[in-house]
Symmetry: C2
Subunit: 618 residues, 2 copies
């Protein structure tokens, strides 16, 4: 397994240079005006005609010879013979001579002989004649041919990212198709027998997981201005993997694969690139993201991304997206950075460049606190809970709480959440959150929530079950939830309470000790032990499955559905929702607590207002 | 024509309220994961499964019982029997008992009996046994089922605009289709006999112009998150117009038309909305944009935009785009505003809210100067030369030079140009500009350029022909261009110079007096008059077409091609490019002048560097 230990890691700079040395550019597309928005013009576009193409009346009124209006005013109008009319879209058939006028519509062609026009508001009709109550100079109220754009003028420069306003210019020039940079075609190859495409059935027993990277990377490619092409999943079959890789390389400007976690896939890809292409770089001194390949295959560029979704996305964003954007001709995205202070100390000392996903929250003074988001390297979902990235130098091995850092937002559109809540996973909380604008809630459980709340990062904590008395917090609201044992429909084991879990051969599924539900269960076990005069630990040992707990409110119940357990710690609401049976063990309070320092935050006040309404309607 | 005089204009606020009272919302679309990026989730999405779905090895190594490693370290390893292997994507077939270990791959299912794993780096093989050189606790290097997301957890809230990171979360949950807000369907109806679709032939003689509004408004609709539907051009045929309007209303959430300049179209639309729908508002106190209709037709909302492209776009942007964005569920775009100071005074006193398109330029001190962009109400192209909008209160009738204003950029992506140049329209300048990053050049002609340059707005001026001596400027570069008469190929009139224009029956096309070419021509006429001992004005009167001039360098030559003239003032380069004949009248210098105060701007230095290379290669 030595192959996977990267002894000579390239520097991030070298990795960037390697990717820059690849050519990702597509060719030229010709797109219709309707599809031109956001595309990048390949070459300068000069006007091929005058706009307008004729001398044009700017208003409704009368076309005439300016010298005929000399001295005219309200009191002493000039009197001209009306010899005809011209409307927009008509060719004038009449010449205007001295003493004559022609009725003309906005946008119509000025008839020959006329050199100015007077708007209808400054005139009166008098039989076949018109009284002109103002004097005008030659050219007044006329837009001359080419006044807007003239033939030969430079209209749009090369590299212009076409906006709706540019489309206005193009259509005025009659251009219905423009040459734009082709979007770099980026093939995405997924490997690994354990990966299943979303929408298909998953067999967790044999370790199958849904393919995350293909879809996130594809979305990232499109975000960066590329065109993503998903190739059929190649599994771990070597011949098939090679076939798919080569097909992608022959059809795309860049091929991305994300390292399968199975060793054979890495082997095959490594071998194909090395033998049949060119391997430029293997392994980069960055975290996450160490296992990265850069090379060429056929006429395509190739980058191998790490297998873990968070790592793959961070490496893609840092090294690959800028290259795609460059090849697409798009400008660097506007710097979207936020300054903030570290909400807590962060230690790190591996000597690699660190790309640290972080979340943002405003404290009561409107300052931005920055906290690392890390659910472990295998986590697929951390980035959905993060707002941006703090880049930490290899030399920095410690960030202090309160230290200033700069956060690169994932995109300029990112809106950090208005409210940061932590706490119990609870269906009522879920509905409550739906009524708020852009909240973030980390369902870490009641006990960790109290710890984080004390550390001063979140705005609110939701705590179920018993509460530590010395917690300094405003209670914004509370409700009560019924908890107990979730069992199969009809309660086939005739469970009545905890006692049967001890006495009978019943497989139980618990929640983790982080949860408020577990706290209430533990208290009930203590009571049962006292009632029976037995030792608590004996009781617990007798419950099959007591020690292992699941993290969220529905997970245990789903084990019952799957037939892996007979009874699960859970809520009546969950049992009802999933059509399961329920044995009530009690009620517990759920409290929504706010940090007094955040009481004046708008989002906290909105939450308090939402809590005033009955919880059933959340 | 009284109908078109809006005596009771609604306030901008009332117009906003009228549009808000319309319902533009589409329904719900179900889109695949590949198409979900940027769409807006309709409802909360809870996790329907645990991620991962099984207890998962985080590294390559050995699954074992933690208690078997108690006390193990480098010097004194624990020795365990290796009883099998589990790879990613496989169902474990072996249980791990005391004293046993199973080889395991990253991502593989933990075999039953094992409660921890040790990475391969901390182990050594010894025959069929493995030496474990570290001690671990239960759960070490294992990611438990649901640790990432657990069934029942709130995954994404309603109203989430789906990012690539959210797509990661969705795919991890196996979701391959999500319910999103349908994009509001916006029908675009164009009317008016004079409008021709880009790509088709244009007959300028009868006042035809290309349809600009349909395409810019469509692009604006897409920008705001709507789906634009272009309906066939209805011309001025009343029955056809009504048919198209009703068809659009029955198929769309919103119908937009832009007022044809021909009175009949306005009549028809007004009548249809009033008789068969509901007219909420007619005429708004805003400039540009007064003639605006708001109403309903069939089950659709209807907004009638002004006919002039700049007006239509400003009204669309101010009143319609926010409503589309709201209906699409998209958040207000991030405020993209720039503060700057007015580059020159601007007077305005019509008592209407004014939406003033402006361009931006940085002066030598890095301050942003703001200048109004206005090529007249009929101009189609002004907005392509503008960066944003300054909104001026109805009460404000004068903005002083140097006054602070806030500019709303057209979009957060707008990058104001790095260089602002004004001056002669010249093909060498056009090529030169291609070599700069994001320049803006207004080809106003040499004489207006000098005036604007004195006012201190542009960075550089390009002046052709004689130069006023007292102009304080750095000359960044210059070249010479050959000018004269552009004639038909083969010079059928055998012209040799200006004299034949005077003596023969030759139709001539001039340039405007703004151009440097015209200045050199005027000087040549003076010389000819002196040579012949005749009066200059007699000479000029004898040249057919001398008094009227066209604005850009190629326009006169194109009149020769069109057969409207026999000789045109122009450049040898133009004649060569268009395969026309040329009679040289001389050479004139073209100078690129920079304001000394802007000498240190990076873009000015880049221009100076570009000018160092021979102009033929520009």
């Amino acid at each position: 397994m030595n192959r996977k230990e990267f002894r000579d890691l390239a520097s991030p700079k070298a990795a960037r240079e390697a990717i820059d040395s690849l050519s990702l550019e597509g060719g030229i597309d010709r797109v219709s005006l309707e599809n031109a928005r956001g595309r990048v013009l390949v070459a300068r576009l000069d006007a091929e005609l005058d706009v307008p193409g004729f001398d044009r009346a700017s208003l409704d009124g009368y076309a005439l010879r300016a010298r005929d209006t000399f001295g005219a005013d309200e009191a002493d109008p000039a009197q001209l013979e009306v010899v005809g009319a011209v409307h927009a879209g008509e060719e004038p058939t009449i010449d205007v001579a001295d003493g004559q006028a022609v009725e003309i519509s906005t946008g119509a062609v000025m008839p020959s002989g006329a050199d100015a026009m007077v708007p209808v508001e400054r005139t009166d009709m008098d039989g076949d004649e018109v009284l002109i109550r103002t004097s005008v100079a030659p050219g007044d109220n006329v837009m001359f041919a080419g006044a807007d754009v003239a033939a030969g003028e430079r209209a749009l420069g090369p590299g212009t990212t076409i906006t709706p306003r540019d489309i206005g210019l193009l259509s005025a020039l009659g251009v219905d198709e423009v040459p734009v940079r082709a979007r770099p075609r980026v093939g995405i190859v997924s490997t690994g027998d354990e990966l299943v495409r979303p929408g298909e059935d998953l067999d967790s027993r044999c370790g199958e997981i849904y393919d995350v990277n293909s879809y996130t990377i594809a979305a990232g490619v499109e975000d960066a201005g590329g065109e993503a092409v998903l190739y059929p999943h190649a599994g771990d079959d070597q011949a098939e993997m090679e076939r798919v890789l080569r097909e992608a390389a022959s059809e795309c400007d860049l091929v991305l694969s994300s390292g399968s976690t199975s060793a054979s896939a890495v082997d095959v890809i490594y071998r194909i690139i090395e033998e049949q292409g060119e391997l430029l770089l293997h392994g980069v001194s960055v975290k996450p993201g160490k296992p990265m390949l850069v090379g060429r295959l056929e006429s395509s560029a190739y980058v191998g991304l790490p297998g873990y979704p968070v790592s793959a996305m961070m490496v893609f964003r840092t090294f690959v997206a800028p290259a795609i954007r460059e090849a697409a001709g798009l400008p660097e995205p506007k710097a979207a950075t936020v300054s903030g202070t570290m909400a807590r100390a962060e230690r790190y000392g591996e000597g690699r460049l660190r790309l640290m996903p972080v979340g943002l929250v405003q404290n009561g003074d409107g300052e931005t606190l920055v906290y690392p988001v890390d659910k472990g390297s295998g986590a697929t979902t951390s980035l959905a809970e993060a707002d941006g990235v703090v880049t930490v130098d290899p030399e920095t091995d410690y960030l202090e709480a309160g230290e200033s850092v700069t956060v690169d937002l994932f995109s300029p559109d990112v809106r950090p959440p208005t409210l940061l809540g932590v706490g119990e996973d609870d269906p009522t909380v879920n509905r409550l959150l739906d009524r708020l604008e852009n909240p973030r809630y980390l369902s870490v459980g009641s006990r960790p929530a109290v710890r984080r709340f004390r550390e001063g990062v979140p705005d609110v904590a939701v705590v179920a079950g018993p509460l530590e008395r010395d917690l300094e917090a405003d209670e914004l609201g509370r409700w009560s939830r019924e908890w107990g044992l979730v069992v199969r429909a009809g309660n086939p084991h005739d469970l009545e309470g905890l006692a049967e879990l001890v006495d009978r051969d019943v497989r139980f599924v618990n929640r983790t000790t982080d949860s408020g539900l577990r706290s209430s269960l533990e208290a009930a076990v203590d009571d049962l032990a006292a009632d029976h005069g037995t030792d608590r630990s004996d009781l617990v040992d007798a419950i099959d499955g007591f020690d292992l707990g699941l993290r969220a409110h529905e997970s245990p119940a789903r084990k019952v559905i799957a037939g892996d357990a007979d009874a699960a710690l859970g809520l009546r609401e969950t049992a009802d929702r999933l059509d399961l049976g329920f044995v009530s063990l009690g009620e517990q309070p759920v409290r929504v607590l706010a940090s007094p320092a955040r009481a004046d935050k708008e989002s906290v006040r909105e939450l308090a207002a939402a809590l005033k309404e009955p919880p059933t309607e959340y």
